[in-house]
Amino acid sequence: MTIDLGLRPGTGARAASFNEREAQICTVARMVEDGKTYWVAGGGSPMYAVLMAIRLYAPGAQYITEDGVIAPEPMLPFEPVMTMVSSRAGYRALAWGTMNTAGNHAQLGLMDYGILNTLQVDQYGNINSTRTGKGEAARRFGGPGGADSIAALCWRTVLMTDQEKRKFVERVDFISSPGFLDGSEGARERAGLPSGTGPFRVVTPCAMYDYTESRRLRLVAIAPWVTAEQVLAECEFTPVVADQLGTLDGPTEDELNLLRTELDPRGQNTAERSAWIIYDGEKYERAAG
């Protein structure tokens, strides 16, 4: 049985070269539903994905950020790191509030989706952005920020992370923001979280996951430039694999033009380390080196 990935086709011709970060943003943009509300993590890939979607696919989708900006028409590009509480980021919004505005609106059930990026995710969709390792190897990270509220309160949470073994772990070193917790039925409700909420998809630069009925990550689609074996080799645990894997299409010229010339012309987000992919008109390949 083929799983409905909920992905619309991209507009425009398939792009001949792009990097995996760009591909990940385009995939999430194609998932965005028109007429729905999105609480997006401030800055980085989630915000670019929703901005792309609004421009190309879902003009009626709205987003808020944790400083209480509701449905802005931001003046792009953002100055470095100025993606919240900045005049350009909040430009032409429908309303301005504060952090408790965002938290309360999500707690009321007004946020259909949350989109987050993270350091580490586990088989139950739990999110770590607090710390990794122990002793001398211990590294301290910044904490959940707004992600805990997004993951707890939005109806569906889409997570963006890298397809790397150290990021796809059996159990996160620290649950900063909740997925399905220990994976048992009703675990979120027992912890006081609203029912009917929780993890929905994980999107990496080369794969997509949903969750089984028993709340475990399930690989459902891969990019055409990787094999399932390659993806699974970059998971610390073995996720459930769908009987029939879908294929994620590469970015289109329209998507990349928008991303590179308007959304992130300085490459602040997309120029970070990630593999380059070449499309020769028939097949996709990771570029050497």
């Binding site: 504060t98 952090m99 990270f141």
Partner: protein, 323 residues
């Protein structure tokens, strides 16, 4: 009420009656000018050992001038509210100001790695919204507020929150302890000399922080007449009787953006990142803070009028920021 689970961490004592008594005895109800220098404000109202909250952050309409003054005056043993912060937590930790930290979010780096590993700073775990909710409870004179997030996380275990059986629905609900900080630092666009303050644009928890804190220092881009406040009272974000000091601080959010007034100073932003990424905050302080009597002297010596004028010109957006 049945407690189902509770965090094991230390948290600032919850004492709504004590806070009411403080308000009764210390918050001046008269319309008296509180205008003073940043030096005097920090000297009078920020003490070693205080719990300190600041609103927004070093890059986004935060009280950067006041934070630099706290470092300049070498405050110590501060318990810091690290919600929606950025490099500011690292700057204060790296300057030796902080001993305890409530974490919602801060920008990580070598300074925080090293301080946490060496035990120089103790970190308690929350989220941004849980911290602003704690401030909301404090600003309402309540001992706690319920919240439908945070339960089930490892942060909960290292916090002061409790999971209880809700006496109304019978379902589990998380309670976050109220927070009444000793001191709040808030940067605003406009204030009169009494502390009637206007924040334009979004914010994090400026109203909650001002009302919840024992001592409140406002820094303002502009000091405006009270007649202007009375002309448009709906724009008053913080009323005077919550405020203890008003500091006139043009470019008080530098190197950050202050909506309607100036854009962010990208080289200044990158340099602050570098200081905590490489754990060289003392060198940053030696360049921007310690040699100078105040920020004005620093701006004159290092940043210069021409660069500041460019930042003003870069802020082309005025909608929503000017009365």
């Amino acid at each position: 009420m049945r407690i189902l689970a509770e965090g094991a961490a230390e948290y600032l004592k919850v004492d709504p009656d004590g806070f009411r008594a403080w308000v009764r005895d210390h918050k001046d109800r008269t319309l008296t000018s509180k205008l003073m220098s940043a030096r005097d404000a920090v000297s009078r109202f920020v003490a070693d050992g205080d719990y300190l909250v600041f609103d927004c952050n070093y890059f986004q309409r935060g009280p950067s001038t006041l934070l630099r003054e706290v470092i300049r005056q070498k405050r110590r043993d501060i318990w810091l509210c690290g919600k929606f912060s950025y490099v500011d937590v690292g700057l204060l930790v790296g300057a030796g100001v902080v001993s305890k930290l409530d974490c919602g979010f801060f920008w990580p780096g070598a300074t925080l790695d090293n301080a946490a590993r060496d035990g120089r700073v103790e970190v308690f775990e929350y989220s941004n919204v849980v911290m602003t909710l704690r401030l909301q409870a404090g600003a309402m004179g309540l001992p706690f507020l319920p919240v439908r997030s945070f339960g089930g996380t490892d942060g909960f275990e290292r916090s002061g929150a409790k999971l209880v059986e809700d006496p109304f629905t019978g379902r589990p609900i998380t309670l976050a302890p109220a927070l009444n900080p000793d001191v709040a630092l808030i940067h605003v666009q406009q204030s009169d000399v009494y502390g009637n303050a206007r924040v334009f644009g979004t914010g994090i928890a400026h109203q909650e922080s001002a009302l919840a804190s024992k001592k409140v220092i406002i820094s303002a881009e502009e000091i405006i007449d009270t007649a202007e406040i009375r002309r448009d009272p709906g724009r008053t974000s913080i009323p005077y009787y919550a405020v203890d000091a008003v500091v006139h601080a043009p470019f008080g959010a530098w190197p950050g953006n202050c909506g309607g007034y100036y854009g962010s100073d990208t080289p200044g932003v990158i340099e602050a990142f570098g200081a905590i990424a490489r754990d060289v905050v003392p060198a940053y302080a030696d360049k921007y803070i310690t040699p100078f009597e105040d920020d004005q002297a620093m701006f004159n010596a290092i940043v210069g009028d021409e660069r500041l004028a460019k930042l003003r010109a870069a802020e082309t957006i005025s909608e929503g920021y000017r009365a």
